[in-house]
Subunit: 201 residues, 2 copies
């Protein structure tokens, strides 16, 4: 089995889908968590000055979605043909668009601008995406009517989304809650969630 | 051969990678271009209220990168194993990050905010990304040292990037220009570029 190493900050956020996918198959990995005060010294050693980073037998990768898709293939949570993989990618990219729209407000440096943007986020963007995502998950899964990496991706980043949105996004969304329950009930995920460091986001 | 139909506005932008990939193999496709004045009436019929849309034998897909990856598989511009596909995805996602950072400024609705953000974009973001992309393309390709869909993706969206950045991004970047020349010299692409509707972005 390859040796996996994940490098990120001490948060779930964008590394948690990687941790979920490996945990799903009980694949061991080194879970390196860089302290904020150590980050400036190593930032420039990272391919794009960013984390997460995934190492597989010493070979280094970046770009969180690309790495997540790679691990999904390794653990068999992908489609059985190109069209099925497209359907999964469509779901994942839609969840990721939602994440970026919330993030654009959360990380807006100008306080006044942020305040204005959060009103639009709360009144328009979040309700729009939640309605779409709830409809996509009508049968309890985001794609193909079965468990795929889209489901694990959503549940893995949900705490981060809730943190940035400052609300419980799955409240009164039975389909999204079903996805969450299904993923969190998987043995490997349950074990990981029980033992992972406790962090807000 | 499947029947392909692309729906988008009368611009290159996010649909051009799809058009490039099909053209690369001289695969015919219906190139539907929605007029701006007709868009409000059909916006709500689109999966996420957005285009481009790709139809394959009547089955509809959305999410531009997901569709581009799908077509790349159909025309054989992907890697030969999961790690190679990860390397291509890393390059594509980095180009796409660059596109989104430029787009966040271009589409900022508040004029004052936009002005401030464009200074940071010009002085920090664009030089940072161009240096990274130029280094990635050191051997004339973005991934695997050979032609992949990352190269076609970059060249297909380049006019759009230049339009939003208000400058020629590949000026004095020999490696990026090499990628551009290589892609534009491909027979299928040359034919497509010669016959496509002329648009600024």
């Amino acid at each position: 089995m390859p040796e996996y190493k994940i490098q990120y900050f001490n948060v779930k956020a964008l590394a948690e889908p990687l941790r979920f996918l490996l945990s799903y198959k009980n694949i061991p990995f080194e879970d390196v968590r860089i302290k904020s005060e150590d980050w400036p010294a190593i930032k420039n050693t990272m391919p794009m000055g960013q984390m997460p980073i995934l190492e597989v037998d010493g070979k280094r990768a970046h770009q969180s979605l690309a790495m997540t898709r790679y691990l999904a293939k390794q653990v068999g949570l992908v489609g059985s043909n190109d069209w099925e993989d497209l359907e999964i990618d469509m779901a994942v990219d839609t969840i990721n668009d939602f994440r970026m729209k919330i993030g654009a407000v959360q990380y807006e440096p100008d306080e006044e601008v942020q305040k204005k943007k959060r009103v639009t986020l709360d009144n328009e963007t979040i309700p729009f995406y939640l309605e779409k995502l709830e409809a996509m998950a009508a049968d309890g899964h985001f794609a193909l009517g079965k468990l795929t990496w889209a489901d694990l991706y959503f549940v893995a980043v949900l705490d981060y989304l809730n943190y940035m949105a400052k609300k419980d996004l799955t409240e009164n969304r039975p389909n999204l809650n079903k996805v969450k329950e299904t993923v969190l009930a998987l043995d490997g995920i349950k074990n990981w969630v029980a033992k992972r460091p406790q962090t807000d986001l």
